[in-house]
Symmetry: C2
Subunit: 430 residues, 2 copies
């Protein structure tokens, strides 16, 4: 790891930066995939899946027989863990329901917000060597609690055309039934524009590789909603002398193993901790099966030694980390000063992996500094707020003149008139 | 108005469509403006303002002297109306603050969400013949309630280089002090990338012409947050035989005067109302000062006669109107069936202009069917939700094995290890 002691302003502003190297052909490649699926539908989708994922695939639809068979293939111990995680994620996301709270802004004028589910949503679950069933929970559970009528899930098949049974088990446990063997930009296209098999959705969620991300950004230009823009995953640990170097090293490495572009940063006030963590990272790294990935990203990660926790907090807010771990004596006090972060883990017994899997919070979080303007996925990511106003005769009588005056001054005469005709009517009725 | 009696399925699906004619040169024009301002900053901004808005403009910054002078130029009656509207908008948006609600998902594992202001936001207020001071209230008030540290406002100057005093009065009343004479794509560029004068913001709000909208979409590809995509304004009225043709005609016209591309639709179960509204629209139209605009959009607007209110509701949900007016006897019952709309106006005494100005709800709403996935501007548009989890030794002891099992099955060994080192430590400590 790079060690930076008492960084200068310039060094800090360099450390805040994220790399954003983009393949220059990415946009046009994705654009042509989107256009092709939009035009040719299922035919293009199957052809692209055969080309990129499963050469012998004959159908993109996951059948109910496949769903049933999957459950038998998942170990009971894993099933139990998934059920425990599901229960916690449900408890936390259910607590996020908006309570309707009518406000009488003027006698006779009552306003309120109501949360309504986005009727049709699409969830993308990336492929790869390991099955990301936890993301099925993180997206599927709030979607079902929100009451989304149609929940579509796309995930790329393995080379033999199958989907990992744990993905199917998690989906079935959550109540998702429309699952398609489709990945990459073609999956995003299918959910955005609809095909004969894949329903068109109103909002698309989920992580993915650069093709998936670019496709999400491109369809968002067509007005399709997406959860958030995304970049590589990252963790920032703030620690003082009370923290454990063993725990911190493990936390940094758990971020580092995600991918070669993952970022792990420790900011600390303790010179001793700097040395200890650096040594402990080397030691734990040597024992990891995914060594080569973690080694690469750890080499690009940093330990910052600062004078005070205030400096640490200032760095956090400038960096806006996806995951923030506060391992200081007074972590609650530090937490009150955080304004930019995705999810915050409080205390030395709160590793990032707790939130990644089972504490109950969502693990779909803003990376790349996007936490400055974006929330992570929450229940309300799957809902819209509709505002209501109910106005009585008394209400329009007392509020009417205000509206008329304002409309007149914005030169919107018909806006004024919509009030005037009502006030005239009530006047005559008297 | 076009009258469509008992429309077929095909006719209905045509009526749901929005026109989306886009100037084919728009994207590249905007792209070059963004690039120029990004590169040359204030110099480009001033040059573009001189070119498009105010030939003799010498400075884009609104001075405090201009702010003070503005107040004296606004009539007291208008000031009073603006203050009344402000009070109502404040009352409603303040009521939207999230109450922190910690949930203990497992003994020793407590999760909660906290709302934190987006630290820096940009508000765009369009120019034109009339000063849209109401939009200053609708964006500025929630921004200040949220606690945004930096609130930047851009609005194009008049030809003489001034900003309408009512815009400045409203901004000052709300507490906005950083105001710039800048419009179009160049204003969006300045707020997105920052210039020597204009601070870089994290999220941009506000309506605008096609250049502004295109610029917002393009900067969103760079990860800048925007309030929502936008199209022409629209109203949909659902009415039964209890409704007033005079009121409805006034409501349709108040939408129609917004612009030539505005859409106004009435869906009713009453054949008599169809005739009466059509006649009343003609009559009221003849008396409007902005006749030529309203005439144009009314000619493209429709009255739909349907058999039942259920059919009307189905059309509403397929259309997803920006503004929905329910003028039926049982409007509350009808309201419970609405899943796609921006803002809903309940009862015959609730004209759209009430929400446009002063009822308390926000008038920045999703058009073009975007209400299927987007909310209108609310307090939370100016805030992010950060999630927190606090975990005790008991918490990690009971949740740890679940996390370990899941991490192992996702082949994320360092994720597992971050729990294992903690459980091992607690085991030894015993």
């Amino acid at each position: 790891m790079k060690i930076v002691s008492y960084p200068t302003k310039e060094e800090l502003s360099e450390l805040v930066k994220r790399s954003s190297v983009k393949d220059p052909t990415l946009a046009s490649t994705v654009r042509s995939v989107l256009a092709r699926v939009r035009q040719e539908g299922d035919k293009a989708l199957l052809a692209l899946e055969q080309q990129f994922d499963a050469p012998l695939l004959t159908d993109i639809v996951v059948t109910s027989a496949e769903m049933e068979a999957a459950s038998a293939k998942v170990d009971d111990s894993l099933k139990k863990a998934i059920q425990t995680a599901k229960r916690n994620i449900e408890l936390f996301h259910r607590s996020q329901k908006l309570v309707v709270n009518p406000v009488e802004t003027t006698p006779g004028v009552v306003c309120w917000q109501q949360q309504v589910a986005i009727q049709s949503v699409g969830l993308y679950i990336p492929g790869g060597t390991a099955p990301l069933f936890s993301t099925v929970l993180m997206l599927g559970i709030p979607a079902t609690i929100a009451g989304c009528k149609e929940i579509v899930l796309c995930t790329p098949p393995n080379k033999d055309g199958s989907i990992h049974p744990t993905i199917l088990y998690a989906a079935s446990l959550v109540g998702i039934t429309k699952i398609f063997k489709a990945g990459g930009a073609q999956a995003i296209a299918a959910m955005s524009y609809g095909t004969a098999s894949v329903p068109k959705v109103h909002k698309i969620f989920g992580p993915g590789n650069q093709y998936v991300m670019e496709a999400k950004m491109q369809v968002s230009l067509d007005g399709l909603a997406i959860d958030m823009p995304a970049g590589p995953s990252e963790v920032l640990v703030v620690a003082d002398e009370s923290a454990s170097p063993i725990f911190i090293a493990a936390d940094l490495l758990s971020q580092a193993e995600h991918g070669k572009d993952s970022q792990a940063i420790l900011v600390t006030t303790s010179p001793q901790l700097v040395e200890e963590v650096a040594a402990e990272v080397e030691q734990q790294l040597a024992q990891l099966p995914r060594q080569e990935i973690a080694q690469f990203s750890i080499a690009n990660s940093s330990i910052l030694l600062v004078h005070t926790l205030d400096e640490a907090v200032a760095f956090v807010n400038a960096y806006a980390p996806e995951h923030l771990l506060l391992q200081t004596k007074n972590y609650r006090e530090v937490a009150t000063q955080i304004v930019n972060a995705g999810s915050v883990f409080l205390g030395m017994y709160a590793p990032e992996s707790a939130g990644d899997y089972a504490s109950g919070t969502n693990h779909t979080l803003p990376t790349h500094g996007y936490a400055k303007a974006y929330s992570g996925v929450n229940l309300d990511s799957f809902m819209k707020k509709i505002t209501y106003q109910e106005i009585t005769t008394d209400g329009i009588r007392s509020l009417g003149p205000t509206i008329e005056e304002m409309a007149l001054n914005e030169e919107l005469y018909a806006h004024k008139n919509a009030v005037t005709v009502r006030l005239d009517y009530l006047q005559k009725k008297k």
